[in-house]
Symmetry: C2
Subunit: 249 residues, 2 copies
Amino acid sequence: MTRNPHRRTAIGSSAIPRYREIYESLRQKIVLGQWPPGHRLPSEHELARSFGCARMTIGKALGALADQRLVTRRRRAGTVVNAPRPQESVLEIHDIEAELLAAGVSYAYQSLERRVRRANTADAATLGVPPGTPVLALTGLHRAGGRPHALEERLINLQAVPEARAERFADISPGRWLLRRIPWTEAEHQIGALNADAAIARRLAIRRNTACLTIERNTWRDQQRITHVRVIYPCDQHRLVARFRYGPA
Amino acid sequence: MTRNPHRRTAIGSSAIPRYREIYESLRQKIVLGQWPPGHRLPSEHELARSFGCARMTIGKALGALADQRLVTRRRRAGTVVNAPRPQESVLEIHDIEAELLAAGVSYAYQSLERRVRRANTADAATLGVPPGTPVLALTGLHRAGGRPHALEERLINLQAVPEARAERFADISPGRWLLRRIPWTEAEHQIGALNADAAIARRLAIRRNTACLTIERNTWRDQQRITHVRVIYPCDQHRLVARFRYGPA
DNA sequence: AATCATAATATGCCTAGACATATTCAGAAA
DNA sequence: TTTCTGAATATGTCTAGGCATATTATGATT
């Protein structure tokens, strides 16, 4: 092992890597408007020369900019600054239990209904399985500090999760149970609002017609539907927060 | 330029790159449970040997897995499979106008109120600026197919966006106007639900107490607050959809 | 048994060079 | 003028090797 004859400067001596520095430097030019949308960046070769590093290091920095959607890269066409991105944000849908415990509030799950049945047409439509597929239908209440916090209506595909048939879900949240048993590969959320009907109002101990936030979630494991859940929060009990930053992930 | 003496197989001959194949192969092992959470992956050297490629190619694949939060990598400790991630999803908050036009519905913005004032305490709190800062307060209606679609209440920091003072916003949506003028670097969304009060109901032509979905958005440009907006959708007019997939971005 | 210094190890980052491929551009042919 | 063809170019991917650094394991010393 001989000493690398090509090395010019010590690497790793500084805490922040070179490609990050370069990334930051280029990012500044873009977000501060010095390079407006449509502007074409210098080629990798030129940047490598001007920054005094190998082309691959530039490639890594430009790749990171592309990951962040700040630029578009095309062969021969070069690297071009994007128009400001459409509003897009990372939404974290937290585990209700973890969230409440973190806030120092007591938490409990209470099962209200549990039925195994063959999917009727409604089940088949919401869960996306053929009618007749065995499903587990659960209704439960999440309680925070003793008071009703959210109502959960869930369908589980027993073909995908046969172990669920033996589980009572009397006081453990099916969300948690599933999360640590069945890895999901794809999820879709739909967020909406509804006026509480009589049944919902009674169970959540709120007035009829109170606005509620609803979150519907479908999860898949490699094409196969695992579960569908609708969680209903009274409007004063929950907000979703999503935050996005340009820049270092 | 001599032919690379090290090359063993043609690259680029196949449409999918080697590191993606490797990424996929490793990802399968994880999401299908063959490598459970906590399992330590073989070292880069071992993987390079078994896949018959350079260590850097393995590094790229493992780096992608780490970006997806499927694994955690630490020096000397190695690469370890993560516990299933907390529910986290990319939420796209679309431009209302673009969304409606894409759906083939006519769109119009109608200004209802426009006032320039020095921020009162309420303005200061919502926009996060010192009281007295000049702000532009706008109220407007998004119409789809002639009917009210969403109500928008907005505050713009005139210190950050002085050009807005000259703009009437009579029939162009301030969201669009801002988006293409002021690049934002950070955004926060809060999603909730509310019962329409009399004023909201009148403007949206819905019944009082109808549940509405609200989206509040704050945007920053490098520490500086740009705007705060609250958009109110009747519950039957809008849903937010967020989708997440493990795997290739 | 507990503490500390040292060696081993796995990742992190980098280089210089090479081939592959998509896309654009200029010039030739129709 | 239009269409086609080949050259030029910028990115995409890969290799083989090297140094840097964090962390763990080991062994020596107290």
